[in-house]
C-alpha cells in the first residue's frame, strides 16, 4: 500500500471527513418538504425534484489525498412520502420494505463508456414508451451533470484543471481512463444513493474496469502498481458515507462487487483486475465493497489461495458463488443463457442479472422450520413413516407458498429515473425500471432449513426407524417446551440425525428444498415473473424464531434458528467436511435465489502458507461437491466471548492452541482467555 493510501485509510478510520457533515435546518426542511411531498405532482416528478434539491444542497468537498471525489455532506434527506402517505399506499398496494427500487446492478461499462449524453441520445431517439419518464430522465441527466460540474469546478479551483475538465467531459461523453471511470462511477453512485434507491451494487468490477485498465497500460498512463493504488482509493470511497445509507443492519448496504466467473459467451472471465481487486480489498481492509468471487470446477487453486488471503483478515469475504450451480439454476428459471452467465450479486447474496432485471429477490421468507413444526404437531399421530409425514409437509409448504405469492399484488415501487437511465434498455425503451424489465421475478428465502430437516430427521430416526421415542412423548415435550422431559430434549439434540452430519438428514434437507422448489414452480406474479426459491434467511432467521415454539430437533421455544444455509447450532461430532457434504444438495440447481453455506474457522487456521492453502482446498472441495455459495468466517474475539457465555451453542467451535486444535468450550477458562487475548491482539 502506498503512503497516499495509508494516509487516506487512516483519515477514513479516524472519521476526519465527518466534520463536513451537517443536518438540514428547519428552514431548509420547511422549503423542501412541501415540494417533494406535494401530492399534486406525480411520484416520478416528486422523486426527480427531490434528487434535484438534494444534489443542489450538497457542497463539494475535496478530501485531501483522494483522487475519487464525492463526499456526502447532508446526513439525512427526507423521503418523498410522509409516514401517513406510505400507510395509505399500503392499504391498496403491496409495498416491499420502503417501496423503493433496490438491489439492481446497472450497465456500468456501457454507461461509463458513453456518458450521460449517450444515455440522453438513447432516450430521445428511443421508443419513448412513457413521455413523462423521457422528460424527467432528461431532467435527471441535467441535474447529475450540474452536480458533477460543481465538483469539477472545485477540482479545478484546487489546482487540478485537467482533472476538473475531465470530470465534466467524462460524465457527459464517457470516460477513457481508469481515473475518469472511477470518478464518474463515484458521482453516479453518489447520485443513485441520493435518489433514495438503496442496496446499490457495484456489479462485475473486473469486467467493467478491464477496458479502461488496458487502455491506460497501453498508453503508458498507468502501471500495474499505480492501477492498484487507484483501485484502493476507489474501494475506500465506498466507506466514506456508508454509515448514512439505509440498511436493516449496519454494513448491510448492498455495495457488493463481483469478480471472476465466466463471460456471456461462457469463456473464463478472470483477468488482471480479478487479482488486483482481491489484493486491494485485503490491503484497505474495509467492509465495503463486499467482495464476491465467482468460481467453477475449472478455477485454479491459486485463485482460491489469493482469495483465502483476503478471508484471513476476518471481514467474512470473499463470498464464493459457484457458476456450475448458479448459472444452470438461473437458466432453469428462464433467464437467457447469456444473461445467466453474466450474473452478479445483490445486497447480501441474492443472485441477480445486471442491466435488464427488475427482480425483487428478497421479497419474503418462507418459514420452513415453522411449517414442519406445525405439520408434526398436527399430523404426527396419524403417520407411521417419513413418507406419510413428508406428504403433509409438501401440502403445507405448497399452500404457504401460494398464500405468500398471492399477497404480492398491486406492487408499489417508487419510480427511479436515474437508476433507470443506468440500466440496460430503459433509456432506449423510454420506460422507468420500476414499471418492469425483461425479468420481473421475485424471490422467497427459505428460513430455518436445517431446523426443518432436523425436525423431520429426528422423528424419522427416533420414532419411525428405531422406536426410541414414542409419538405421544414427543408431542408432550413440544407442548411443554421440554420443561418436564430433559432426557427427551437431550436425545433429540444429541442422538437424533442431523443435517450436515447424517446422510438420512442430508437427504431430507435435499427433499425439502425440492419440495420448496416445486411449491413455487408455476406461480406467477402480476408482472408475469416467477417466484425463485432460495436458501437465504436475511433477518428472518431471528424474526421467525421468536414466536416459534419448541421444535422436534430439541430446540427450545424462541431459540434462534441457524442463519442461511447452515447446520444446526446443536450439531456435534461433525466438522466442516461433513457440513460441506451435507449442504451440497442437488436441489440447489432449483433453489439458488441465494443464501450461503457459512463455515466458521478460527483465524489461527490462516496462520501460515500451508494452512491457507488447505483452507483454499476446502473451499474448492465445496464447489466441486456442488455447493452454490459459501461464506467463510475467520472466527474473532466476539464469537469466542459468546462461546464463553453460552457454551452449549458453540460446541463445535474449533480453535488452534498449540500445533493442535481443540473445542474452545472444552478448554479451561484461563486458556480460553489466553486464546481470546491472542485473537484480540491479532485483530488490532
Amino acid at each position: 500500500m502506498t503512503e497516499r493510501i495509508k494516509k487516506l485509510k487512516a483519515a477514513l478510520e479516524n472519521r476526519e471527513h465527518r466534520v463536513h457533515r451537517r443536518k438540514l435546518t428547519e428552514e431548509e426542511l420547511s422549503v423542501i418538504l412541501p415540494q417533494i411531498r406535494n401530492r399534486a405532482l406525480t411520484y416520478m416528478e416528486r422523486h426527480t425534484l427531490r434528487l434535484k434539491l438534494f444534489l443542489e444542497l450538497e457542497q463539494p468537498v475535496l478530501l485531501p489525498g483522494t483522487e475519487v471525489y464525492g463526499l456526502r455532506t447532508i446526513e439525512y434527506f427526507p423521503d418523498i412520502y410522509s409516514e401517513e402517505e406510505l400507510e395509505e399506499i399500503k392499504k391498496t398496494h403491496y409495498v416491499h420494505e420502503k417501496g423503493k427500487v433496490t438491489n439492481l446492478s446497472w450497465a456500468v461499462e456501457t454507461v461509463l463508456t458513453e456518458g450521460l449524453e449517450g444515455r440522453r441520445a438513447r432516450l430521445l431517439n428511443g421508443a419513448r414508451a412513457d413521455e413523462e419518464f423521457v422528460r424527467l430522465a432528461g431532467e435527471t441527466i441535467d441535474i447529475v451533470e450540474a452536480f458533477a460540474d460543481r465538483y469539477a469546478a472545485a477540482i479545478t479551483e484546487s489546482g487540478k484543471p485537467d482533472a476538473g475538465e475531465a470530470l465534466s467531459r467524462a460524465v457527459r461523453f464517457g470516460a477513457k481512463t481508469m481515473a475518469e471511470a472511477f470518478q464518474v462511477f463515484r458521482i453516479l453512485h453518489f447520485a443513485v444513493w441520493a435518489s433514495d434507491c438503496y442496496h446499490n451494487t457495484v456489479g462485475r468490477f473486473d469486467q467493467w474496469l478491464l477496458p479502461f485498465y488496458r487502455h491506460d497500460l497501453e498508453n503508458g498512463i498507468e502501471t500495474k502498481e499505480s492501477a492498484l493504488e487507484k483501485i484502493e482509493d476507489f474501494f475506500l470511497s465506498f466507506n466514506w458515507d456508508s454509515d448514512l445509507y439505509y440498511s436493516l443492519a449496519w454494513g448491510d448496504n448492498g455495495q457488493s462487487l463481483v469478480l471472476g466467473g465466466c463471460l456471456r459467451d461462457s469463456t473464463c472471465a478472470v483477468n488482471e483486475i480479478t487479482e488486483l481487486a482481491l489484493i486491494a480489498a485485503r490491503e484497505v481492509r474495509q467492509i465495503d465493497p463486499k467482495i464476491n468471487l465467482r468460481v467453477d470446477k475449472n478455477t485454479p487453486i491459486e485463485l482460491y489461495e489469493l482469495a483465502t488471503e483476503l478471508t484471513k483478515i476476518g471481514l467474512g469475504f470473499p463470498q464464493y458463488a459457484n457458476d456450475d450451480v448458479v448459472i444452470p439454476c438461473l437458466e432453469y428459471w428462464g433467464y437467457e443463457p447469456e444473461d445467466a452467465r453474466n450474473y452478479a450479486i445483490a445486497a447480501c447474496w441474492e443472485f441477480i442479472v445486471p442491466e435488464n432485471a427488475m427482480d425483487i429477490p428478497n421479497i419474503n421468507g418462507v418459514p420452513l422450520a415453522e411449517i414442519v413444526h406445525d405439520v408434526i404437531e398436527a399430523h404426527l399421530m396419524e403417520c407411521d413413516t417419513l413418507e406419510e409425514l413428508m406428504a403433509f409437509v409438501k401440502d403445507a409448504l405448497t399452500k404457504r407458498a401460494i398464500d405468500m405469492a398471492s399477497v404480492v399484488k398491486n406492487l408499489h415501487l417508487e419510480p427511479a429515473p436515474l437508476l433507470s437511465l443506468l440500466m440496460g434498455t430503459c433509456a432506449d425503451e423510454g420506460k422507468d425500471i420500476s414499471a418492469g424489465a425483461k425479468y420481473n421475478n421475485i424471490g422467497f428465502h427459505g428460513t430455518g432449513l436445517s431446523s426443518a430437516a432436523d425436525q423431520l430427521a429426528a422423528v424419522d430416526s427416533m420414532i419411525f426407524r428405531t422406536g426410541k421415542i414414542e409419538k405421544e412423548r414427543l408431542l408432550k415435550g413440544l407442548s411443554e417446551n421440554y420443561q418436564n422431559d430433559r432426557e427427551l430434549r437431550w436425545m433429540l439434540r444429541n442422538e437424533a440425525d442431523k443435517m450436515g452430519r447424517d446422510e438420512s438428514a442430508n437427504e431430507i434437507g435435499n427433499r425439502l428444498l425440492h419440495i420448496f422448489a416445486d411449491a413455487v414452480e408455476g406461480l406467477r406474479n402480476e408482472r408475469g415473473g416467477i417466484v425463485r426459491a432460495g436458501t437465504g434467511s436475511a433477518m428472518y432467521y431471528v424474526w421467525h424464531s421468536r414466536d416459534l415454539p419448541a421444535t422436534a430437533d430439541g430446540r427450545d421455544a424462541g431459540e434462534y434458528l441457524p442463519a442461511n444455509f447452515s447446520p444446526s447450532l446443536f450439531l456435534t461430532k461433525a466438522g466442516p467436511l461433513s457440513a460441506l457434504l451435507g449442504f451440497s444438495s442437488d436441489a440447489l440447481k432449483r433453489t439458488s435465489n441465494g443464501g450461503p453455506m457459512t463455515l466458521e474457522l478460527h483465524d489461527s487456521v490462516f496462520k501460515d502458507e500451508q494452512s491457507v492453502s488447505k483452507v483454499a482446498q476446502l473451499v474448492r472441495a465445496y464447489i466441486l461437491a456442488g455447493g452454490h455459495q459459501l461464506q467463510l468466517n475467520s472466527v474473532n474475539a466476539e464469537k469466542l466471548r459468546a462461546a464463553q457465555l453460552e457454551p452449549e451453542k458453540h460446541q463445535d467451535l474449533i480453535v488452534r492452541v498449540w500445533g493442535w486444535s481443540g473445542h474452545f468450550v472444552e478448554l479451561d477458562r484461563c486458556y480460553q482467555d489466553q486464546v481470546l487475548s491472542r485473537v484480540e491482539y491479532k485483530e488490532l
Partner: protein, 280 residues
Amino acid sequence: MKGLIFSIEEFALYDGPGIRVNVFFKGCPLRCRWCHNPEGLSPEKQIVRSPNGCIGCGACRDVCESPESCVLCRKCIITCPRGLIRVCGEEWDSEALAKHILKFSPILSNGGVTFSGGEVLMQADFLSELLDRTASLHRAIETSGFGSTEAFERVLSKTDLVYFDLKVMDGEKHKLYTGVDNAVILKHAKMLMHSGVPYVFRVPFIKDVNTDEENLQRLKAFLSEAPTPPTVEFLLYNKMAGAKYPLAGMAYTEHFEQPDEADIERAKRILRAFNISFRK
C-alpha cells in the same frame, strides 16, 4: 473388529498433505509430562466435563447413583442444563469407521486420513484393519513408536506417511519424562529410516528437557544414520499444554518453559544438515 476413538477431526491442517480427516485413538502407554491430550490417555470410555459455563446447579451430582465409580449411565449428561458433560470415547467397528472416512473421499482430493492418538500402536489390529479398508486414500499415522515390533512392521507396510516422535534421546531421561524407556522407540525409528516409507520426525521442543547441546548432538548422530537426510519438525512447547486437564478431571502441575531463541538457534546450528522446521 472394534476400537476406541476419542475424536474425529475433519479439517486437520498439519498432519499430512491436502485436506485430511484425523482419527484419534484412545489410550496411550506413555505418560509424557507435557501431554496436551489427557483425555486420550485412558484406554477406557470416561466422562468428561467442560469446566466453563458450569453454573454450579448440582443437578449432575443429584442424579448420580454411583458417585464412587462411574458406570457411564449418562444421567449426569442428560441432566446438565448447559450440555457440558459427555462421554469421551466411542466404540467403532473398523468397517463402519472406514465407511465413515471414505464418505469424504470425493472432497479430500489429494488429502487423506491420519490416524493419531493416544497411541495408535496400542490398537494395532484395529489400525491394521482400518489401513486396509482405507487403502484408496493417502494414509498417515502419528506414533510415539512405542509398541510391539511385529505391530509396527505390519502397520508400516500399509502406511503412506509416518509422523514419528523423537522426544528425548537419552533412555533414562526419556523414562523420566514419558514413563517408558526409548530403546524400542529408537529401534523402530531406525526401521522407519530404512523402510522406504515417507516419514517426518517430530520433536516436542521443551526448554531444559531436550533443548540442550547433548540431546541435540545425540539426535544429530541418530539422524545421520538415515540413508537420506530426514525431515524434522520441532513443535515448540507453550503454556497451553494444560488446557484440557480440567476437562478430563485432572490437574496439570508441570512447569515447563517454552524454548527461547537461543534454543532454536542451537537446534538450527547442530541440525543444519537436515530439513528442519519449527512450529508454534
